[in-house]
Symmetry: D2
């Protein structure tokens, strides 16, 4: 189709697929509002086996970051350790009893994470008509991650595209369309509805782990959601979407004059929670084993005050 | 009672209440092993309302840390923000589209957190007969937090002692005994069994927030579990225990020659997960409202490789 | 005198005592330009004894910072240490040979330091007509500290006011006037001229160390330079001025509607290098001993690219 | 020559070239003791032009570090900036006056730096018979960098080997022998004596900058001082030696069973200050221009308490 996609499209679709004001002028939770208590209860009824699966990549120096945008892998160090005990450096503690402590320095977007609703913006505004002047060196005074401290709990659905397509991973540049997601869901016998948390597996992370190379993972060409998913995400009332890629969206982007256009539409206007760098391989195997692609899903952010994102350890409970 | 409690008691009780080898020589999960898949399923059946409650204190400069043991409150800063957008510093991005990013430096024990099974040790050994030489500046090569990445999910029980005793908070120095816990549980109509995650509210954090002072919170006198809970925790097969205090245990400690003796027995020998600085006030109100003190509880650590603890956002799903 | 000092004064005096353009439109060194090679040579001829005195406060957790403006004391930790060697954690190195490494996290304004010419600004401009849009999360793209990497070397002069006045320290709130500086210099037999680096000792830091309390040191009432020094600093062609206080200037400030007005005039308009938290007690004693209040002075910043300040270890060579 | 060099050589030469006890049992300054006040005065008399040259590489993300040994390039960020001012985030300051602040996280060995006398050790001991148990997570309680806070000031000598040999840089693996240094010094008309600070330029850093690649710079093959320099450094009573390479010594090392043997002998036993990653290109040109290879040299460390090294900005004053 000869449709032209550009910055104008982004602004126009932003207006179309906007939830600004839908949950009041003060709202800072966006599409998480779709997860009503009733839906939490329904999600709790999903597990059949009691198996718990982590969707987090380990947080360490083997992570994907390359320095792009000042993001580096987590730096972890010890404040006290067993070596100190051996050296007698803890002899201020009586009786030969000792301890270890540690610390971390991490960009909040360095690994498995949620983007807060203050993460992207344009024309001076972020989600729900909030001024970007509220996001300064002092942190985000609106739409910050701690506003969703009691989320994210709901029904999770895995869209396992490589398994559906019987390929190890999608090619870089593959544009995932709404109909691809629907076809995959139908094939695996799972419906997607309002308030769902949709995990889209592209296999890109599988490839990086298998090839032991993160080359291109951060910001390079990647499979991902097409900008055309914006309408689908809006109309289906998706609560959150996450992928095993760096940035959810297909790369190169479909809009030459807008970087990460789906973020701009869906995060800023729809108020949609976006999750990135999810490790979905173990979950993929588990779903294939029992044939069930829905599960109770929990992924609360660390409520770091004023943060525009948070590292997380998402759990699928099957 | 004239019983003498000292370092010898700690070592003796450590032998008595030991789970070393119980789940194999390679085990690094300790009492989380009590949470079988069947128990996860049972826990998923507990919610009635679908209400989700966070038990995390916000992670920021208003936190409790005073510098003791090199622990400071989380330091959060921006790598990119709205001010940059206003200044044109993001004009390398086309079309007027912008973003914010951030980072954190935090001791892993600074706020709401789990202690890993490598957090305390004595006589050269930590949980499951592992040498403390495995815990160095390079991190913990055994019993580290990432080994429980797919925990902690199970049945949570709130032991709300101030509410039970109709007082705002327990006095500093109050030794909480097993019979206190049992009496409280019975009064609120909840049984405690194998694999449970027990949240003990003392009200100390309530007091600090109300008085707007963390004076003494970190390491000072505090209400907390008596060393006599070690046997109860072991025999009841508790999976994890957490409090709204700095260190779970009563302070001053009951053993003049051992700092934090319950840690030494229960974490090192029993292999028990200990949680600290839990914010239990909202959960307290919610349980009082619906009269149900049990709930589905999730509190996965961030899988920071080699870490001896992790900040968490624990959720109670009622 | 009934003179009214306010924000208007600051703007007016800024225009009067401006060096914008004096050393060209591209200049980013400000008054350091007064230190010509000839003056460096003259300074090298000053030493008589060969004694070297550090004017830095140790960088550690005992420093003065209280958290004001997000400034904390330096956090130092080990990446490798002797305990690791004992624990065998360095056995990847053959032969029993080991090492230690470490790291630091420090606000650049936390201790003995220079303010860069990008440190303060108003009306959208900093020194030499540069736009403040050049100072963003990406650092300062103009007037940054690395632009003076080959400074600061010159003739230093100590103005030891407490010794001159025969008091242990100046009272908080004492406004140091140009005539006070001149009188002190004359009394100690030292002339102040173009290109000099003037170190003004108030004794405030002496008091804090003696009383073992930093209470009020950071941002509280303090002795310091009066705003009336702006003209003197400009006309005398001082290259840099530093004190043993938090902020050079008298506190409370003399302008109710402008915080740190001397910074605004002298740093922004005059292009003067300001030094803070200098430890001048040992230097005070040394100058009293030999009766010479001039010396070769070196205090190069760390050339941290884009930084708006730098910790330093200033040396007086007598 | 068929001489066998190994760990035994290192221990034997360590005994031969030891200064332990030479300046007393309490000494923590090592060979800096050779720089007497008289020699400082002599050094102050060296400058002829008043030109000041920085020998520091900029501290930023373009630095040489690759992650080896947990060392990364400096991470710099803003705590307050011009963008904040534009966003109104500093409106708590009256009158439209604003400021910028910043912070850094840096391994102390990441750039131009001195190794402290606690940086390397073996057989349980570091310089001057101090136990390595004094170097733990709490920092170095002996031989730490702050013990030389009032150094390093003295006579500097540039040994510009590429210029002497009329090549752009020495090949990787080139072993620099004492006679090479002496020949170069003689050719450039400069004598090397007790208390001198010797800067050895290999051109390796020149090459990296020219080729815009740090590949191999950190820990890879490199030109550098042969282990045979240990005797020369000891007998000549050199106060400090620094190079434009990562680790002073030739790489691969001449001892298969000892990593960085010259460090082990000269730093640990001789008590010699070692400097690394010095930027000597501008100094090289300046010395060639005026034909003088000696100068006043200052390079004080930041007195970070307990540190085993320090970033520095060394200055040559000609």
């Amino acid at each position: 189709m000869a449709e032209k996609l550009d910055a104008q499209t982004v602004r126009e679709w932003g207006r179309r697929y906007s939830n600004w004001g839908r949950w009041g002028k003060q709202d800072e939770r966006g599409t998480l509002n779709f997860i009503t208590p009733a839906r939490v209860l329904e999600a709790c009824a999903l597990p059949r086996s009691g198996r718990v699966i982590s969707c987090a990549l380990p947080f360490d120096q083997n992570g994907p970051q390359s320095g792009l945008a000042g993001r580096h892998n987590p730096i972890h160090w010890m404040l006290a350790d067993g070596g100190d005990a051996l050296a007698g450096a803890q002899d201020f503690l009586p009786g030969g009893f000792n301890y270890a402590d540690d610390a971390v320095h991490m960009p909040l977007q360095c690994g498995t994470q949620w983007d807060a609703l203050s993460h992207v913006f344009y024309d001076g505004k972020m989600y729900n008509d909030r001024d970007i002047k509220l996001v300064t060196s002092q942190g985000a005074r609106a739409n910050a991650i701690e506003k969703i401290a009691n989320g994210v709990v709901g029904r999770g659905v895995l869209i396992d595209l490589p398994r559906f397509l019987r390929i190890p991973w999608l090619d870089d540049g593959t544009r995932i369309q709404p109909e691809d997601i629907d076809a995959c869901a139908e094939a695996f016998g799972v419906a997607i509805g309002s308030g769902d948390i949709v995990l889209v597996r592209t296999g890109m992370l599988t490839r990086c782990l298998e090839q032991k190379s993160w080359q291109g993972y951060c910001g390079g060409p990647a499979p991902g959601l097409s900008i055309h998913c914006a309408r689908w995400l809006f109309e289906r009332e998706i609560a959150a979407v996450a992928t095993d890629t760096w940035g959810v969206e297909v790369r190169p982007n479909e809009t030459p004059d807008c970087f990460q256009p789906l973020h701009m539409i869906s995060l800023r206007n729809t108020g949609l929670l976006l999750g990135e760098i999810f490790f979905l391989d173990e979950l993929s195997r588990a779903c294939a084993e029992d044939g069930r692609y829905e599960f109770l899903f929990t992924a609360p952010p660390l409520p770091i005050t004023g943060a525009v994102g948070s590292p997380i350890n998402p759990l699928a409970i099957k």
